[in-house]
Amino acid sequence: MDLANFDIPMDAIVTSLLEIVLLIVISTGLLQNGLYVLQLVLAMRELATQRPEKRASLLWRRYAEISPPISLLVPAYNEEISIVDSLRSMLALNYPDFEVIAVNDGSKDGTLQAMIDGFGLMPILRHYTEVVPHEPVRGLYGSPQYPRLLVVDKGNGGKSDALNAGINLSRFPIFCAVDADSILESDALLRAVQPFIDDPTRTVAVGGTIRIANGCRIERGRVLSFGLPRNLLALFQTMEYLRAFLMARLAWSRLRTLTIISGAFGLFKRQTVIEVGGYSHRTVGEDMELVVKIHRHLRDRGQDYQIVFVPEPVCWTEAPESWRVLGRQRSRWQRGALETFFRHRDMLFRPRYGRIGLLGFGHVLVVDVLGPPIEVLGYLLVPMLWMLGLLSVEYLLAFLALTFVFGIFVSVASLILEEIELQRVPRVMDLVLLTGIAVIENFGYRQISNLWRLRGMWQFLRGVQGWGVMSRVGFRST
């Protein structure tokens, strides 16, 4: 370290302190990037050994006869415009035995009426029991024309509450939680259910890939062709999702340390979820909270189990295209991660929780808890100290390497994985564009993203609750 020569002890103290802070910044960066490299290697191995079957026709022949029935739970809040198309697309899924349970979570718009009109629904009775808590059910609706569809109308209680109502009303051993504004590919269930076929005793939850639908050709709730978004912010998110799902989740799945299954698309063994009390209320990260609760419960019981991520079943979702909405979403995600982390903090590094406590929670600690504030501290401190001549150029370069250059490697490597193993991006120009995005997202977007996460931390510390407004453009048929 090239610090000036200070004679008075105060300066020496400041120098030592700065040195310690810089070491923490560099060490955290190294640790974070080390984890990314580990994820890349694991994801590569997983994809190479478990290469997904591309021929959809083979899947039906192979699995239809032995596929367990599934209840699709679709919580809907103010989804008047798109709900009928979404449900129609779900009812047309390529799967032998399933039911769709749409839960109107006290919408303020005409969501319920849209479903009643769209499917010719009538009030019905259904025998069920309340094994997990939720707001009172106001009515159940069904139609002889759509025997697979059940619509639940209940008081507003949030997404977790709506999903709990769906769990109570479902009859099948496995349920699949899907966002009402998401689109499942027609063979998504057939692909996602495979771990439940291969190992029905140990498998308790399965997550699939979420991809950005902005820019895709969509008609009546079906993705007809892939396209990249035109909006820069949505493009950044396309890259982020690729990294998060194809690299991080696949890697942690291989190590059996997955701590999150996206709320937009996840399959769960109903009985296990009931045993942990269903989805938790008073959290904005109900998806992560549920998975961590399952880990804790089954580890406490000493049960052998697995929570798996499979890369090929795809659920398409709409990404926010405005900075304000995206910022709110990211702050909320950060808050959700922190809520779960601190609620279950006793699991961290505790031998009883094995690799979940060490790797799963260790990863959350480094990437979600310590990562954002330390990285932002680095952004403030390192250039300033360098400009003041208090820091050698080596320190500056190391910091730049860890925050900018290494990010390029991780993003581009995820894209390489996608191109080698899945080839979901059909046009060459789109590949070129995504490569460009993988580079430039590290200069500006990553830093802003960190600020949003810091805001989420601040909100968590202040005890802020609730989701905030999540406005969407909505899927437009093109």
């Binding site: 560099i26 190294l30 990037n33 050994t49 290469r51 079957e53 021929r55 026709s57 083979l58 022949r61 192979r62 006869e65 032995i66 367990p68 019905i124 009775l125 259904r126 025998h127 069920y128 029991t129 094994v131 069904g142 002889p144 025997p147 076929i197 291969d198 190992d199 029905p200 005793t201 140990r202 050698s392 080596e394 320190y395 370069l397 190391a398 730049l400 390497a401 860890l402 250059v405 290494f406 390029i408 490697f409 581009v412 490597a413 894209l415 390489i416 191109e419 080698i420 060459v428 590949l431 070129v432 490569t435 580079v439």
Partner: protein, 350 residues
């Protein structure tokens, strides 16, 4: 030194990843024309094959054989799709053409090496190419290190009516997998050809419950002689899974000598057994067990109450009347509501 290394390694990795991506993009550009041409060839060949199944023209057959042999990978993928559409005699004729074009050989080769995905597809695809060579290849593939390939090969082999040693190695393997639902398919095939081997599995207390119950299910479907005695011999098993399997299979078999076991299971200590026994009562229409079903409408477990209600509704007028009476007498109590909801659901599904 260490700090410089961080910079250099990061820069190097970023450069290597970008260079790799550029290479992949160039490769993709180059392959675009090939993929287009392949797609056109595929469409033409598909049209020719579908037309030939109608006409049976000899000249066309020769052309198809040549086309198939020129690109066996494309042909294999295409045939898998075609065989989903074309059935019966047309399928057999096409399979004969494909065998002449060397597709059978390719599948038999694929079965021995390469990625799991390809080995699995080959084990399935060979069902359309029955021959001594196929049976031999499948027999070897039963010993494949990957369970999916092994079980698929065993299922295909059994479906082809070929002799397959349902030997200790395969049984051990099936038992080791323990959980996979695929074993149900394998055992269902074996139950047709080697029921005595499955019988040994069921009675072998050292095997896992999973394989024993799956074998019992498979055997019951065949209706072989002595199956009732086999099921009843297991009725006092301490394993819940086994008693559930007994209830399920008695419900499926429907033999009168199994009724007393079903009746006894209605008051079993485990809810899973009471539940399955209720289902069996409804399935077999055992009117005399109606009163016990009525009692189960007050069971602690929701699933037992629900299945008992459903079973009552399946007992015809007597069961329906009992449910209606309960609605009238019990009103908005949990009992009355169970009866009311079961009746409502029955009306809707009728």
């Amino acid at each position: 030194m260490f700090l410089t290394l961080i910079w250099e390694i990061s820069l190097g990795l970023a450069a290597i990843s970008l260079a790799t991506m550029m290479i992949l993009i160039v490769l993709r550009l180059k392959s675009a024309g090939r993929i287009r041409a392949e797609s056109e060839r595929r469409d033409t060949l598909l049209d020719q094959m579908l037309e030939w199944t109608e006409t049976g023209d000899a000249g066309q057959a020769a052309a198809i054989t040549t086309a198939l042999s020129q690109d066996t990978k494309l042909a294999t993928n295409l045939l898998i799709e075609v065989f989903e559409i074309v059935r019966g005699e047309g399928q057999q004729r096409l399979a004969a053409l494909a065998e002449a074009a060397g597709i059978g050989d390719r599948l038999r080769r694929d079965l021995t090496a390469g990625p799991v995905r390809n080995r699995l597809a080959a084990a399935e695809g060979l069902a359309w190419f029955p021959s001594a060579a196929t049976s031999e290849a499948l027999g070897r593939a039963v010993l494949d290190r990957h369970d999916d390939v092994s079980f698929t090969a065993a299922t295909t082999l059994s479906a082809l009516d070929s002799d397959l040693m349902f030997d200790e190695a395969l049984i051990t393997r099936l038992a080791q997998v323990n959980s996979s639902r695929r074993i149900e398919l394998v055992l269902a095939q074996f139950a047709q050809t080697r029921p005595e081997a499955l019988l040994q599995l069921v009675v072998d207390a050292h095997r896992s419950d999973r394989i024993r119950t799956a074998s019992l299910d498979a055997l019951t479907q065949t209706g072989i002689e002595g199956i009732l005695e086999l099921i009843l011999s297991l009725e006092h098993s301490p394993s819940t899974d086994m008693r559930v399997a007994v209830a399920r299979n008695l419900g499926s078999l429907g033999h009168p000598e199994g009724h007393h076991t079903i009746a006894r299971y209605l008051s079993d200590a485990r809810w899973e057994v009471r539940c399955k026994a209720s289902e069996a009562v409804g399935r077999l229409g055992l009117l005399e067990l109606g009163p016990q079903l009525c009692d189960l409408l007050l069971d602690d477990n929701w699933w037992v109450r629900h299945r008992a209600g459903e079973a009552l509704a399946k007992l015809g007028d007597d069961g329906i009347n009992a449910l209606q009476e309960m609605v009238a007498l019990a009103g908005q109590t949990p009992l009355g509501q169970t009866a009311e909801h079961v009746l409502a659901e029955r009306r809707r599904s009728a």
